[in-house]
Symmetry: C2
Subunit: 505 residues, 2 copies
C-alpha cells in the first residue's frame, strides 16, 4: 500500500514537474517567437539596417587584420587596438554621422595630444615632486572647462563628440605620459591607427551601399508634406461624403476605417519629427556632394519647410478632433451646409493637391510652380466662402447656432491650414531657388496661373433687398515664381497679391 502511494506521489511529482517544464518551455518559445518577429520587423522597416550591420562587421574584421597580420603588427604594435576601438565607436548609420564622428575624433585627438605633451613639459618645470600636482591642476582646469563647453547648444549640436574625445585624449596623454617615456612614438602610433580606423569607416560607409543623411532628410521632408496631403484628402472625403452621397459612405465604411487609421498615423509622424530633422540636417552638413546634392546644399531651408509642415500638422491635429468626434450627430441645417460645403471642399482638396505637388517637386527636384495654381484656387475658395456667407447672413434666419459651431470651427481651421500651405509653398520656392531645381514645362497653362475670378453675388444689406446684383472681380496675381537672391532670402516678399482676405480669423 505504502509503496503504491509513494509511487503515485512520485508519478504526481513527475507529472507536475513535467507540465511545469512544458509550460516554461512554451513560454520561452512564445517569447523567442515574439522577439524574432519584432527583430524581423525592424529589418523589414528599413532593410538598410541589415546592410549597415554587415558593414560594421566587415569594417571590424578588416581592421582586426592589424593584429592578425604580422607585418602590420610589427609596424604598429599594440596601438593597433586603437584602430579597432575607433571603428566601433565611429561607425554610424549615415555617411554624415560617420564623417562627423571621424573628423571630430581625429582633430580632437591631434589637438588634445599636442596640448597633453605641452602640459607634460610644463609640469616637468615644477620638479619631480611638484609635477604630479601641476599636472593634476592642469587636467582639472582643462577638463572642467571642456565639460562646461559641451553645454553650449551650438557646440553640443556639432562638436559634442569632439570635445568628449578632447577631454579623453588630453587626460590620457598627460596622465600616461607621466609614466611612459616614449611619449612621442606612442602618440604617433596612436594617432596613425586612429586615422586608419577612421579612414576605414569613411571609405566603407561612402563606397559600400552608402546611407546619406542628406538624402534621408530630403525624403523625410517630402514624405511629411505627402502625409499632410493625404490627411487633407482623406478628411475631405470622410467629412463631406455622407451629405454628398449617403449610400457611398455606407458601402465604403469598412475600407475607409482602415484608410483613416493609416492617414492618422501619417500626419502624427510629422508632429514629432523635429529632432530627427535637426540631427539629419546636422549630419548632412558634413557630407560631401553626392547624387543630386552638392556639398553646400541648402539643408537649413529643409528645416524651415519642416517647421512649417509641423505648424500645419498642429492645425490638422485640432481638425482631427472633429473627425474623431461623432459628427453624424451634427444637425447642421442642410441649407447652410451646402452653402459652406463647396468652398470648404475646395480649400481642403486644393491644399491637399498643392502639398502633393510640393512633395513631388521636392522629390524630383523640379520647379514647384505647379503648386501655385492649387494654392491660388484654395485662396479664392476663402474669398468665395466670405462672399457666400455675407450673402447668406440675411437668408438664414432661424439657424440653430449650436449646430453651426462645429462646422464653423472646421471651416476656420481649414482656412488656417490653407494659409499654412501657402507659407510652405513659399519656402519650397525658396528651396527651389537655392538648390537650383530643374524647371519643367508646366502641365498647367501659364495663363491659368493668372486667375481672374468673376462671380455674381448678392450684396450685404440689412434687410434692404432693393439693391441689384453686384459683380465683384477678385484678381489674384501669383508672384511665387520670383526667385530671390540667395543672400536676400529673409526679405522675400509675401506671396499673394491683393487677395489675402480678412475673415477676422
Amino acid at each position: 500500500m505504502e509503496i503504491e502511494a509513494e509511487t503515485r506521489q512520485k508519478a504526481g511529482l513527475f507529472t507536475c514537474g513535467w507540465s511545469w517544464l512544458k509550460a516554461l518551455s512554451g513560454k520561452a518559445m512564445n517569447k523567442a517567437v515574439k522577439v524574432a518577429k519584432s527583430t524581423k520587423e525592424v529589418g523589414q522597416e528599413d532593410p538598410r539596417r541589415v546592410t549597415h550591420s554587415l558593414k560594421v562587421g566587415l569594417a571590424l574584421t578588416l581592421v582586426s587584420l592589424f593584429y592578425y597580420w604580422k607585418p602590420l603588427y610589427n609596424g604598429f604594435g599594440a596601438s593597433g587596438i586603437w584602430a579597432v576601438l575607433t571603428v566601433v565607436v565611429v561607425f554610424e548609420f549615415s555617411v554624415g554621422a560617420s564623417l562627423s564622428k571621424s573628423l571630430n575624433r581625429g582633430f580632437a585627438t591631434l589637438l588634445a595630444g599636442t596640448l597633453g605633451v605641452g602640459a607634460q613639459h610644463t609640469a616637468r618645470l615644477f620638479g619631480e615632486k611638484g609635477a604630479p600636482f601641476a599636472l593634476g591642476m592642469l587636467v582639472f582646469l582643462l577638463t572642467t572647462a571642456s565639460s562646461f563647453i559641451r553645454f553650449i547648444p551650438r557646440i553640443k549640436a556639432r562638436y559634442d563628440y569632439g570635445v568628449l574625445i578632447f577631454i579623453l585624449t588630453f587626460s590620457l596623454v598627460s596622465v600616461s605620459g607621466y609614466r611612459i617615456e616614449q611619449l612621442f612614438q606612442m602618440a604617433h602610433q596612436r594617432l596613425s591607427t586612429i586615422v586608419i580606423g577612421g579612414a576605414f569607416c569613411i571609405i566603407i560607409s561612402i563606397f559600400v551601399c552608402p546611407v546619406w543623411a542628406g538624402e534621408d532628410l530630403h525624403k523625410l521632408i517630402a514624405s511629411n508634406l505627402e502625409n499632410l496631403a493625404n490627411y487633407l484628402q482623406g478628411f475631405e472625403s470622410e467629412y463631406f461624403q455622407d451629405s454628398v452621397d449617403e449610400l457611398m459612405i455606407k458601402g465604403g465604411a469598412t475600407a475607409s476605417e482602415g484608410d483613416k487609421a493609416v492617414l492618422l498615423q501619417g500626419y502624427k509622424r510629422v508632429l514629432n519629427s523635429k529632432n530627427d530633422e535637426e540631427s539629419l540636417a546636422n549630419f548632412a552638413r558634413w557630407e560631401p556632394g553626392h547624387g543630386l546634392f552638392p556639398f553646400r546644399h541648402p539643408w537649413k531651408q529643409y528645416l524651415k519647410i519642416g517647421a512649417l509642415a509641423r505648424q500645419c500638422a498642429y492645425h490638422i491635429e485640432a481638425l482631427n478632433g472633429y473627425m474623431i468626434a461623432n459628427y453624424s450627430d451634427i444637425q447642421v441645417p442642410l441649407e447652410f451646409r451646402h452653402k459652406i460645403q463647396e468652398s470648404t471642399i475646395k480649400m481642403s482638396s486644393e491644399s491637399s493637391k498643392a502639398l502633393q505637388a510640393l512633395a513631388t517637386s521636392i522629390k524630383t527636384m523640379t520647379d514647384p510652380s505647379v503648386a501655385n495654381f492649387h494654392v491660388e484656387i484654395s485662396k479664392t475658395a476663402i474669398n468665395e466662402l466670405e462672399i457666400a456667407l455675407k450673402a447668406d447672413s440675411v437668408v438664414l434666419e432661424n439657424v440653430n447656432l449650436l449646430a453651426i459651431i462645429p462646422i464653423a470651427s472646421v471651416t476656420s481651421i481649414l482656412i488656417e491650414i490653407t494659409r499654412c500651405v501657402e507659407k510652405i509653398c513659399e519656402s519650397v520656392h525658396e528651396l527651389s531657388c537655392l538648390a537650383h531645381f530643374k524647371s519643367v514645362e508646366p502641365s498647367v497653362a501659364p495663363e491659368k496661373l493668372q486667375l481672374h475670378h468673376r462671380g455674381s453675388i448678392k450684396p450685404l444689406s440689412d434687410g434692404d433687398r432693393s439693391i441689384d446684383h453686384l459683380t465683384i472681380t477678385v484678381s489674384t496675381t501669383s508672384n511665387m515664381n520670383i526667385c530671390p537672391m540667395e543672400n536676400e532670402i529673409s526679405q522675400v516678399p509675401k506671396v499673394g497679391g491683393n487677395q489675402r482676405l480678412n475673415l477676422g480669423v
Copy 2:
C-alpha cells in the same frame, strides 16, 4: 621726390595695415565678448551645469591618482588608463544617466570579456593557421548581430551603450587575446579598473550635488502644466478684455505685449518636450530612491500626463492662431458675444485654474482633488453655453454669420481644451494613487464637488413659442477621487457622470 613717394606709400601701407589689424582685433574682441556672453547665459540658465563640470574635473583628477601614486600603479599597471577612460565616457549630467552608462559598461564588459576568452579557446582548436580565420568569422558574426540589435527600439532606449561596449570589448579581447599571453590577468585588471572608474562616477554623481533625472522629469511635467495654465489665463484676459473694459486694454497694451511673448514661449516648449521627457523617464528608472521618490516610482505615468499635456498644447497652438490674428477687426454682434462670453471665460479660466492646481499637486505631491472642482465648473460652462446658444437661436435673427465664425472656432477649441484638461486631471489622479500622494484637507467643501446646476432656459422650438418655460437639471457627479488598484489602471472608469454633453464637436 621718389623717396618721398616711397615713404608716403610705406606710410599708406602702414596705415592700411594698422586699420586692418585694428578692425580685425575689434571683430575678434566682439566675437569673444559674444561667446563669453552666451557661455555665461548657459551657466545662468542652469547653474547645475557649472557644478557638473567641476564634478567631472574632480572625478578625473581623483582617478588620475592611479597613475601618479606609485603603490596604486604597481597594483594595476598600465590598465589604470581604463579607469580614466571610463570616467570620461560614463560621467553624465544626471545620476540616472551616469548609472545607466556605468552599469551598461560594467555588465557588457564582463559578458563580452567572457565570450571573447571563449572565442579565443574555440579558435585555438582550428590550429595555428586556422585560428585567425575562425576568430575573424566569430568577430564578424557577433558584431554584425549586435549592430543589428541596436536598431530594436526597446534595446536602443535602454541598452544602446551596453551593446556598443559589448561589440567593443568582444573585438578587443578576441583580437588582442591573439597576441597577449596573459589574457586572464589583463582581463581582470581591465575589468577592475573599469569598475573602479564607474564606482568613482556613481559615488561622485550621487553624493556631490546630485542631479536626479527623476526629479527633473517631475518638475518638467509640473512646469509644462503650469505653462499651459499661464497661456489660458493670459488668453482669457487678452481675448476678452477689450469688450469688458476698452480702457484697460489700452492702458496695459505695452505690458501685455511682453507678457504675451512670455506666455507664447511657455506653451511652445510643451510642443517639443517629447524627447526630453522620454530620455528623462528612461534615466529615472535607473536611479535609486531619493528624496520623495522611491525606487519604483511610476515614471511611466508622467509620460502619460506629458502626452496629454502635449495634446492640449496642440489645441492651444490652434487657438494661438486667433491671438496672432488681428481680432480687433472682428465685428461680432455684441449681443451674441455677451451671450457666449461668460461661458467661454469660465471655460478658459477654470481650465487654467485646474491646470494650475494639478501642477501644484504634482509639485507638492499632494492629493489633486482641488482640481476636480475647477474641472467640474469648466464642464458646467460647456452646458451653460449649449443652453445659452439653444435659447439664442431664435432670438438672434440678423446675425452676420461671417463674423460668428472666428468666435465660434475659439469657443469650440476651448471646449476641446476643457476636455483635454479633464483627461489630464484623470491621469494626475492616477499618478496620485500610484505614487501615494499625501492627502490634504480640502480647501473646497466636499459638498461643492457634488454640483447641481439648476437653470431656467427657454426650450428649443421652431417658431412655436407657445411652450412654457422648462427647467432642466444638470447633475454632475465627481468620481475622480476613486483610486483604482495599481494593476487595474487601464480599466479606470471615465470621469464625469451624466454630464458629458454632445455639442456635436
